[in-house]
Symmetry: C2
Subunit: 141 residues, 2 copies
């Protein structure tokens, strides 16, 4: 069963090289979102960190040999699901970036580790902790 997604926008950056991971990146760039979704950006504010899900559109097809990989900054050979490698069964990327400015359908951010032209699939608020004081509001499964 194939699941189809379409880009909601694209990453733009002038950087010719990008760091291996958002957590070590100070690179700036822009997330340019399709104008049809602009209204959905209204609560994204400068200073926030947001999650960007994107397509590793340049990754070669995944092969069984990629199940174990040595990340460039580690000595160990790790299972692919314990790495952030772009070469994974579904080439889905996740970065956390800091919003510097937002104007219309363009979000200027810091923390870019995607190459120029990367298709964006989703933006989400960053939630990092268990929040026992918040209501769970269960719904039928």
């Amino acid at each position: 069963m194939a699941i189809e997604f379409k880009p909601i926008g694209y990453v733009h950056t002038e950087a010719q090289v990008v760091p291996r991971h958002w957590s070590v990146s100070q690179v700036e760039g822009r997330l340019v979102i399709d104008p049809q979704y602009q209204e959905g950006l209204k609560d994204i504010k400068p200073g926030q960190q947001i999650v960007v899900l994107f397509h590793f559109h340049r990754s070669p097809p995944f092969a069984p040999a990629n199940l174990i990989q040595k990340p460039p900054h580690r000595e160990a050979r790790l299972g692919v699901f314990s790495t952030c490698s772009p070469r994974r069964p579904n080439p889905l990327g996740l970065s956390v970036v800091e919003v510097l400015a937002i104007q219309g359908n363009t979000i200027t951010v810091k923390g870019i580790d995607m190459v120029d032209g990367t298709p964006i699939l989703d933006l989400k608020p960053l939630v990092t902790d268990y929040q026992p004081d918040q209501p769970a509001l269960e719904s039928p499964a």
Copy 2:
């Protein structure tokens, strides 16, 4: 341009109701991964938190009226990209779960907010912070 993904496995839980978000969930369940990817799980250990990317397979198609939504636990009407709503342009979900056990291709976890049968698209290590002491190891964009 459509981007195609395939499930790498499925979420299983006996829970009849699930909390609205992983950050308020103590619900347990299992992530059963396709055996062809089992080797890639070798470094996932009990006690770790991992990121699960999944398909909101029950969401109705996104419509422009969903660009602004009122989350069940909030008073405000928010832009969709500032919510974790399952009704979003690309129905991609992100949960952080705690690994309780792993055996073969089955990961037992706590923090389930997905319904039974949810297709899993990716598993990633949880990285939450800027890490200025780690090497950036830039690569050509």
